[in-house]
Amino acid sequence: MSNLFSGINARLRGATAKHADKDKDSKPPASPTTKDGFLASPISVKKSKSSSNLVVSTKLPPLPTSPSLSQTISLSATGEEILASYRLPKPYPLWLNANYAKHIVKGNFMTLSARPKVVEQGEWIAHQVVEHWRNLWNFIQVVYAKEQDGKSICNINTCPKMSAGPNHSYTWLNSRYEPIELPAHEYMQLMQRWISGKIDDQKLFPTDPQTVSYAPNPSIANTTLLTGGDEWIGKRSGFPKDFASICQTIFLQMFRVYAHLYWAHFVDPFYHLNLEKQLNSCFCHFILTATTLDMLKPSALEPMQPLIDLWAANGTFPPDSKAYEYANLKAGNRLLQLAGLA
């Protein structure tokens, strides 16, 4: 991928130019973990054992967004030009055809993502991580499970690399922190093991009812909760300091799998198995949640940007959602037009 296009994308979404990187999409958004014996970490942080230079600190920074910038640029570029900048294969994949981007549910997806006012942020993030992981796992099973003859739908021949279309492939870090390429099904296996390990870790995702907390209510005067400088998401509910950054990594990993499922398996098998609407709804809910909770940076969304544009344009994303903010309406409207729906 040329820097030009990723640069445009980054600017369109208001990301800083720093994030536009070279051919392999191997951005370092979160800290790797080192304890697993085999392949150590899902995130390709090149030769970096610390997380010091990473974007995510213990306190979640506001993600770089700049809707006004995005809008100014949109004013000058046509939907066609923006779509062209995505360097999508032609003809466009079926899942970008609005007639196939439909859902099994109607109504506002945000009702499922929005944090209830009384619930502490860390608790809500933990809840969402687990729910989305359970959803995604069912789709992974379809392509991953081996038939009697030992073959799975996603295998080394169909998907020799963990990729999301021609422009994006993902690497895994081995125990020496070297990024290595893996067949998609192996990548998904390691990723699954890594995520399950995190979710099942009681220190990271506590389920003890005794340690719960709540979100302060600013309108109730006496509520004083700030304990000083050393605050982090989930601290009051007993979540560890690195909780938020680990959740960001989990969301990023889940995003990568969704992106692979769309780019490599939307038709084979999901369309054939009548699961494309289910996939759309779960992914749509996933994107809305991840962006609302600042768990995915706009720059990470790149491989799925056109679908996000489409869902913003056709009203699937509510206008007050972050996902809508990150979308390019012109590109989405152009896709609708091409599908004969605008």
């Binding site: 499922l112 069912n138 099942d200 709540y214 369309y271």
Partner: protein
Amino acid sequence: MIMDNFEFAPAPPQRCPEAYGPRANNNQKRCFQLAQAFFKDGVRRARERNERQLDLERRLEDPAVGPRREQLWKLGGMSEAKYLRFLRTKEELSNYIPIKTIGKGYFGEVKLVRKKQDGKVYALKRLAKTEMVSHEQLPRVRAERDALAESDSEWVVKLYTTFQDSTSLYLLMEYLPGGDLMALLIKYQIFSEDITRFYAAEMIMAIEAIHNLGFIHRDIKPDNILIDREGHVKLADFGLSKGFSKSHDHSYYRELLQKPAPPNNKPANRNSVNLDEIALTVSNRAQINEWRRSRRLMAYSAVGTPDYIAPELFTGQGYSFEIDWWSLGAIIYECLVGWPPFASDNSYDTYRKIVNWRQTFFFPDDVYLHPNAAHLIRSLICDASSRLGSRGGAAEIKAHPFFAGVDFNSLRRIEAPFRPHLESDEDTSCFPVDELPQGEGFSNGPTNTNGTNGHQATASNFQEEEVTPEMCLPFIGYTFKRFEKTFM
């Protein structure tokens, strides 16, 4: 019709699910249903959560709340958080310490257990998956789960959560230490009219509560009328409940009737009582009790007792809510007379008598019933179309002279006639525990899922599911977790 469009890759002309293997197709079904269930449950929970939030905000506005506002908000937040953690918790058998077996049926058993996390005691019902599948009981267990999950009534036993492992389904319910009406009948043989009125009135409330949810119980009998620690009634065992969902329908009684009379289906190891041969009189009550105990054993068979079931369920003419009122009539009869109206020494004869109730139903000569009581029973044990309750529902029955003076709305606040004497929270003295095999853990199943810490469990599942997909699929959507006010 979707137009072909050269801008996008064309959709295949036809979907070809058959091009994929059985494994993929099974996973498809699971994925399909779980996605559906996820959004359905998610929306329901979000709606309920919003209602709780609105309720909390209303309470905060009350000026009388004053300085307690912060506390209210805090408790609200913490109970939501506890629920979220509960949803996140992987339920498995090893989370519970078994104490005693308190009930047994053909498809499983009920154990008193203590939950390790909160130290509280619960009743944990286990149903064997293989048995459920081979006897086509899935609609029944699904019905039970749905009825209990949707109910939030003080008249219905509370279901806290459901979970499953490779061999079993589990329902975690509140433990009602008072045993059941059957045990009371065994103990006291007959009830006075006042006591009968109390239980009948409470049963009406309970049946009304499930009817209001759209469920027909279909299997109301003294074993399913549970007694709580105060001595009040709660309805349980919804295996036969019929919701309006088609999947709960079952024609299994009709099939049973078409079979020839069984040569001998008397419970093994029991001296059977040939009720047809002995005259049922007051002096034979001891034998009736013997029969009752043997009927307890019958609960362990796949068929169960038909004694309280209305004729229209057998004859296949269709039925509705009023079948539960027939059962109520049969139980009132048993409370006052000492045995159910169609008692026989085998199920086949009971079926026959029920279907021919016009010829076979009678009050014994030597039992005195007040005319109001007899009239009530006759108004319930009768043709469905003229049965009390068939038009006006529970209100019709409550208005019967037998219940004159009963304040139905304050029933649960009055002192119950029999209050269990309990020594501890694990007291099982009201249950026939001596008659039940008491083993460590659950019998015929995995005693626990030992050695599987969560991480390994999910990781290995991912590589090879030890659960065959056929066993798994029908149980999708079975899992349920209730929001509990006691999270506070």
